[in-house]
């Protein structure tokens, strides 16, 4: 596997690039812009997640149900992508899951508490997309959001869309 630092630096620059370029074009930032940038990052992550999950589940058998899929995401998928397992998985058994990671990979170098809290969502958008892409290629359409109150711990909320 390639050095992890390569992806970290690339990710930092992707986020910076998306924010820099759009600002240059529009001239100022407002809520609508912020949302569109987050969705650009999320879209990138979506496509990456889709491809990744094909590769990672090559050799695994079919999943029995939704919960099984989520457990796979929390253990194997998270290990391969973020180099650790999810610390806590909660569900209401009706399609909503909350994954908590206490030392999220991309946030550990940012801060150890509240500094830079307002900038944290930018760096989580791509990862939300990766999770959504992975789930979509496993047959589950979902909406993934992330929230963070004390870094480097963060929670990803996955809501499975029932068709």
């Amino acid at each position: 596997m390639a050095d992890d630092a390569l992806f970290e630096f690339l990710h930092m620059e992707i986020v910076a690039h998306v924010y820099r370029d759009l600002q240059f074009i529009k001239g100022e930032t407002d809520n609508k812009d912020r949302a569109s940038r987050v969705s650009i990052l999320e879209g990138m992550g979506y496509r990456v997640g889709q491809g990744l999950i094909e590769r990672l589940t090559r050799d695994s058998p079919c999943f029995k149900d939704e919960l099984d899929v989520m457990k796979f995401i929390c253990k194997d998928f998270w290990t391969k992508v973020f180099r650790r397992q999810v610390d806590n998985l909660r569900t209401n058994h009706q399609g909503t899951y909350v994954l908590q990671d206490n030392k999220f990979n991309l946030l550990t170098q940012l801060s150890n508490g509240k500094q830079y809290l307002d900038q944290a969502p930018k760096y989580l958008a791509f990862s939300c997309g990766v999770v959504r892409g992975a789930l979509s290629n496993l047959g589950l359409e979902s909406v993934v959001t992330a929230e963070v109150s004390i870094m480097p711990s963060c929670k990803f909320q996955v809501v499975i869309q029932k068709l």
């Binding site: 940012l110 801060s111 150890n112 900038q119």
Partner: protein, 145 residues
């Protein structure tokens, strides 16, 4: 046995970080002037040492001492300069400065997306970890002497 203070300069001479642990006497000039003075002195000494040294030296200037303190200097290939003042009992702080660079600076500043190269180092994470590291050094022991 103690560490007095630490400066970090970038390639252009701008002071990115300064912290003191045990400094009994201030310089009597503003902080900006003090940083400029320190950087200017280091620049001159390095150039002097490399020109006037009677022997071949691979490393160049590493430290100087007065009767009360010793100044340790470490420069990275990327032009970052780490300067630490300790008391005379510390003969070689090179390893500590190397550790500060590779484990604290690179991990917490370079990998921090909000820290822009050339700006002063604001990250609390970096400050706290550096502080913990300095206090854990075997030769750090703040006494009132």
């Amino acid at each position: 046995m103690t560490v007095h203070n630490l400066y970090i300069f970038d390639r252009n001479g701008k002071c990115l970080y300064y912290n003191e642990w045990n400094r009994k006497k201030q310089a009597g000039i503003s902080k900006e002037e003090e940083y400029k003075l320190m950087y200017g002195m280091l620049f001159s000494i390095r150039s002097f040492v490399s020109k006037m040294s009677p022997l071949d030296s691979k490393e160049g200037f590493q430290s100087f001492q007065t009767s009360r303190y010793r100044l340790h200097y470490f420069e990275t290939p990327s032009g970052l300069k780490f300067v630490m003042n300790t008391d005379l009992s510390v003969s070689n702080a090179r390893d500590a400065l190397q550790h500060i660079y590779s484990n604290l600076y690179v991990e917490n500043i370079v990998k921090n997306p909000t820290c822009i190269l050339g700006n002063s180092l604001d990250s609390d994470l970096f400050s706290t970890r550096l502080d913990t590291f300095i206090r854990a050094l075997p030769y750090y022991n703040p006494r009132t002497t």
